[in-house]
Symmetry: C2
Subunit: 375 residues, 2 copies
Amino acid sequence: MSIGKFEILCKDAKSNARKGLLTTGHGDIRTPVFMPVGTRGSVKGLTPEMVKDIGSQIILANTYHMYLRPGIDVVEQLGGLHKLMAWDAPILTDSGGYQVFSLSTLNRIGDDGVEFASHIDGQRIYLDPAIATDAQNRLGADIIMAFDECAPYPCERERLVSATERSIRWAKICKDSHKNDLQLLFAIVQGGIDLELRSYCADKLVEIGFPGYAMGGLSVGEGFDNMIRTTAHTVRHLPEDKPRYLMGVGMPADLIAGVREGIDMFDCVLPTRNGRNASAFTEEGPIKLRNSVYTTDIRPLEEGCGCYCCRNFSRGTLRHFFNVGEMLGPTLVSIHNITFLQRIMDKIHKNIDNNTFSEWSEEKLKKYAACGYVR
Amino acid sequence: MSIGKFEILCKDAKSNARKGLLTTGHGDIRTPVFMPVGTRGSVKGLTPEMVKDIGSQIILANTYHMYLRPGIDVVEQLGGLHKLMAWDAPILTDSGGYQVFSLSTLNRIGDDGVEFASHIDGQRIYLDPAIATDAQNRLGADIIMAFDECAPYPCERERLVSATERSIRWAKICKDSHKNDLQLLFAIVQGGIDLELRSYCADKLVEIGFPGYAMGGLSVGEGFDNMIRTTAHTVRHLPEDKPRYLMGVGMPADLIAGVREGIDMFDCVLPTRNGRNASAFTEEGPIKLRNSVYTTDIRPLEEGCGCYCCRNFSRGTLRHFFNVGEMLGPTLVSIHNITFLQRIMDKIHKNIDNNTFSEWSEEKLKKYAACGYVR
């Protein structure tokens, strides 16, 4: 096993879509891959056994959240993140950069690092690239992310440039402080929707050299077209032989469009967040289970879906569980929603294999856009 | 298959404990049995698959709750209670008597029935023995309960007598209106802790004749000694060859003491309610996971326990899940707690088989009393 090896298995002739195999310390990941999110060590409402049964290969957890609670020391004493999550397959940890900028109250952004107030209790906390990398080294995920500054959208050019420059400098510090050979440290390309800034950032990061590259600061309000244009442009500045990860992206149409532009990895909280909010993905569009039309609907969420929810529960029953506040409702619809995205990934693989990805993706993108399945 | 057949397989020589086999429309139940509670169609936080994996044979659901939401019509249209609960093994429905008197605001108790305000939205609702029986006939559980008046504890003698008399009259009406041969209608003996009233009620109900008898109005504040004395006394007035069910009882010590007095069936919300409140049953006493001593405790809740929780998660991890509010915490500890009670039932069976029940139960009762595992 050679950790970090990324083998391209198959390339689509008419697009940038490709299939690959990424070797990590906890096994190989077949890409393109969708990663469910287990922010605080648990994919919300699901046991790790359920996540595995769905076919998920890798779970994302958040350094920011684990750093605040229970704390990195505690995770270490509990045997590390894999043990805590009862997940012996690959894990990726986000660096905390995005969360510091989106969840907390910022006190100071300096060239050294960030001072912020915890979103839980207001506690004053300092994070910098070395600390975030050390935290991730100790959490023990298989893929860890560079600590970056994620500028908001929209953003003044001056702030965007400085955030991008800082993210490049910080990525270098992350690489220098990275001390765990079992882990792959991915860099994060920033630059908003400014294509010039994106290529500048990508080039600089590639110069430093990483085993994988992510695109951050997208899916934050810029819209589908901006996101995909920026992605397509950035990918051209990234090495062919390294995995590419589009962060925080996971609407059905976004996954397909991302793969078409050459993206290998995705993560998103939507399937579980929607699941908790009684909203289910189906091929015919979202089902909002709180709608009274489903009261006596004996059909499963999706005919032919083999997930535990669809094999056992009707829409009417799911509606009942949400109506009375039973935890089983969120659990079941989250299972279905992750299964739905997993099925899209499976179809992506098949269509790349069969050289039908281009036609298939075009048709699916139209359909999913009509369903509202775009960011 | 002859529904309602109750075969006594084995009797303890030194106590009233016995093992039996009760045939229902959805299979045989090996007694003594503990029934987890799925009030609104779901054992809180657990999938039916998890409940089955634990080894539970039968789930209890509540007519009162299903009557209010989603309504009996809706359950019927969704294919009945077994289909709704995705549970193809036996189900028992409580009649709603207990809930009407404990959860709702009563407007009128008459000899005909009860008028009350729903605990959900204050809606004025009328229930009587015929309606409750019809509702249960339509829900389709395998064992249904007579609609009774459950007097509070303590209770003036006059009210207790009238509630007991009414429960007897209502049991007769339930029997007369019962229209589903696939279901067993159990009567409920009332009478508080008044032994004379208990035997009077039991004798009258046995005269009417039912395939099973429950003891209601216990575990409502009267304490362990009163509960067991009343149970022991009542059992002597019930036929040997019919199952006996001690309602709402499920503290570890209560189960063992109940079996010793000849009880065959139990139900209780405690394992799941405690599970949601971060309190775990163990042989050494309850573990309150919110206690900071467990922060870095790498041990499972209980060494050697084979449940999904203990096989995969440490006390420290469980504490983390409760601390941050992850649903997985309640799910895991509920699994463990039901498993713990299931293991007690398994040991009861083994000790009856081995003719060691008497000694074993005495020792266990002492131990569990010291743990605070008594009502």
